[in-house]
Point group: C2
Chain length 421, copies 2
Amino acid sequence: MQKATRQQTKEQNRNLVLKIFFERSSISRAEIARMTHLTRTTVSDIVADLIEEGLVAEIGLGSSTGGKSPILVSLVDNSRYFIGIDLAYNMFCGAIINLRNQISNMVCLPADGMDGEKSLKAIFEILDPLTRSDCQPILGIGVGTPGLVNSREGIVVNAVNLGWYDLPLARILESRYRLPVFLLNDCQAAAMGEFIYGQSPPASPNMIVVRAGHGIGSGIIINGQLFQGDGGAAGEIGHVVIVHKDGLPCRCGNFGCLETVASARAVVQQAQSLAGNSIAAQAGKDPHSVTLETLEKAVENGDEAALQIVVQAGKYLGLAVASLVGMLNIHNVVLMGEMTRFGNPWLKAIRDTVAKTALSRLTRDATIHIGSLRENGVILGAAASMVSDYSLLFGNTHLIVEQSHLINSVERAREQQLSLD
Amino acid sequence: MQKATRQQTKEQNRNLVLKIFFERSSISRAEIARMTHLTRTTVSDIVADLIEEGLVAEIGLGSSTGGKSPILVSLVDNSRYFIGIDLAYNMFCGAIINLRNQISNMVCLPADGMDGEKSLKAIFEILDPLTRSDCQPILGIGVGTPGLVNSREGIVVNAVNLGWYDLPLARILESRYRLPVFLLNDCQAAAMGEFIYGQSPPASPNMIVVRAGHGIGSGIIINGQLFQGDGGAAGEIGHVVIVHKDGLPCRCGNFGCLETVASARAVVQQAQSLAGNSIAAQAGKDPHSVTLETLEKAVENGDEAALQIVVQAGKYLGLAVASLVGMLNIHNVVLMGEMTRFGNPWLKAIRDTVAKTALSRLTRDATIHIGSLRENGVILGAAASMVSDYSLLFGNTHLIVEQSHLINSVERAREQQLSLD
C-alpha cells in the first residue's frame, strides 16, 4: 500500500488515456474526456505531452455530431518497438513488434541440441541485427524460453534442452544491448499472447492456456495477469505423474509424466514402435522415419492405429485439463502447440475426458477450444509483457537503466496495472 | 481502469492510515507520517476524522525520543463489530467479532439432516439474538457455507446437506437484518481465516489451504486475495476423481472422488467395515458405532489396521495436494479440518506422496503443515472478508444499503485492496 501522490495521479491518468489509444484506432479529445470522466483540460494536457513525445499524432477530422468536426488523434504505430524472442526446441526466432503488435524483421536459426554457450551465441546472432535495425527506438526485449524461469530475477533456473542452469540471461542481454529484458517461460508467454491477442475478447479475466508440443506446459491467467506461482513454475503440468503404474521413464527422471504419453514426442515414438507399422508402410518409409506429419496424414487417411494413438494422447491430456479446470474453476481453456494439428478427434478426446472426470457443474460452463495464434504466440506474448508495461513508454528516447531499476520498474508497472485495469 | 480523483486519493490515504492502526497496537501521528510518507498535516486530519468517528482514540503518552513525549493513538477494539457464521454439516455456529478479531457471543445449534427451510430458520435463530446484542454497531455478516456459492450474487447455488439450491441467501439476510452480507464457501472462508489469522505471517501472498473433514475442499489465496474462479468453485477438490478403477460411489453421483477415500466420513466407514473389527473390539463397541474418536484412539494405541486406514487416506489426499502444488507452484500449504487429528502419520503420508508425485523442484520449497486455527477458522474467515472491507468503516453508523449497492461496494472495496495492499 503506497500513498497516492500527485505524481501517481498524473501517471494513472496518463496511463488511462494511453490505454484508450491502444484500444481504439483513432479518437477525439472530447471522446476521451467522455470515456475517462477526466476534464477536457486534463485530457488536452496529456495528449499534448503524448504528441510531443511522438507517441500519438493528429490524423484528420472526424465526423461532426452537430458542431465543429473534432480532430482525431491516433497512436503512431511505429513510434516505439519491442523485440520478442521464442527459444523453441528446434528453432530460435526473434522479431520486432510495433505498438500495434505487428511483427516484422523475423530472424530464425535452427537450434537443435546445442550446449549452453552455443544457445547463448545463437540468441546474440538473432538480437545483434534486430537491435541495430531501422525500427527505433526499441524499448525492451521479451524472451520466452523453455524450462523453469525466475522472471523476477531474470534467471533461467533450468532449461535442459538449452544446457542452461541458473543462467542470468536477463542481466547478460541487458548489459550487451542496454535494453530492459523480461524473461518468462515459453508456455506462459504463449498464454499471455493468446489472452491478449487471441481471436475473441475473453469474457472473463481468467484463462488456462495448455500448450502441447514437443513438451507440455500451460499458462494460467488470473485477473488478467499471468500467475507464475512462488517459484515461477505455475502451470508446469508436463511432469505431473499421470500414469501411476508402469509409467515410461521421463527426461525429468520420474516415471509416467504427462509428457511421456501426451506430447508430440510421445505420439511419434508410439507411432514408430507400432508393430507391423501401417503408418510407415503407408508413407513408404521405414518405421523410424515416422514424423508428426506422417502420423497426421495417417489419421486423415483413416488409419485406425494412428487414430488410437492420437485419441489416447488426447485422453491423457484431458485428465490434466480436468485437474486444472476442477481445481481453478476457470471456464476458458485454450489449447496450443503442435498437437493441435490433429484437430477434432484429439479435441473430442480431451473434451470427453474432462466432462467425465471433473464435476459436471464445473465443466458445463467450461469451453475448451484450439487457440487462434499459431507459430507467433510466444513472440507476441513475450513482447506483450513489455508492451503492456506503460512505464516504458515514458520519455522520448529508449531507456538505459540499471538492472535493479529495470526489474523494479517492470514489477512496479505490473503492480500498477493490477490496480488500473 | 478508473481516473484517480481527489476523493480516491483521500480514501486511499485514509485506508493506508487505517491499515497501520489495524497492524499496530498503538502508534503516534509522527510515526504514521514516517511510515506512510504522508505529511503530518494530512495524517493529523485523517486521525482527527477517525477519532470523531470513534474508530480510534488517544490512549496516553509514548516514550520520548528526545523532545516532547508523543501521544499514542489506538484502534478502539469494540467500536465496530462483524458477525461470522459457520454452517458446518452437524452444527451451525455464529459469533460476533470485534475489530481485533476477538470472538464473543458464540451461538451454536445442532444442524444434522435439515431440509432447506429448517436450515434457513436455524440461521435466523442464530442471527436474531446476535444482531440484537449489545455489541453495536454491527457492520456486516459473513457466512461460510458448504457447497457451491456465487459470492458476487450472494447465492448458494448448491448445498446438498442443507437442502439449498439457488438460494439467494445474501438477499434474504440483508432484507431481514438491513446489514451487508457476504457469502462464501466454507473451505474458502477457512482459507481466508488461516491466511489472515494463522500463526506465522505468510512469507508469500499465495497460499493453499486444504480442509479435510466430513467433506474435502480447499481455498486458494493468490496475491493476498481469495481466488474463487469463474464459477465460485475454485479449490473444490473433493470431487476430483482420484480412484480411476472401481471407485466407490460418491454423493455427487460420480465414482472414486477424493471424498470417497480421504474424508473423515470415508475413514469412519472403512473402520466400520473392517473384517474382525479390532478397532470396535478395542473400544468395546459394535462395528457400526466406530467414530472418528475411536479410530483416533486405535491409532494411538498402535492398532495396525487403523493406522493403515489413516495412512491410505493421507496418501490419497497427498495426490490431490501434489496436483495443486504442481499446477500452481504455491509453496505454502496448510491443512485443516477433522482429519488433522491424526497428526504425524497422516501428515507424513501426505508429504511423502507429494514428494514422490510432483516435480522435485516444485516441491522442495513447499511446506505442508497443519494450520493453527481450529474450530473458529470459518467464522473468523467469513468475518474477515467483511473486516478487511475498509469501505464499510466509513461513516459512524452502520450501513443500510440496497442490495445492488452492497454487492458493488464490496466488489469495489476488494478491487481497491488488490491495488492498495
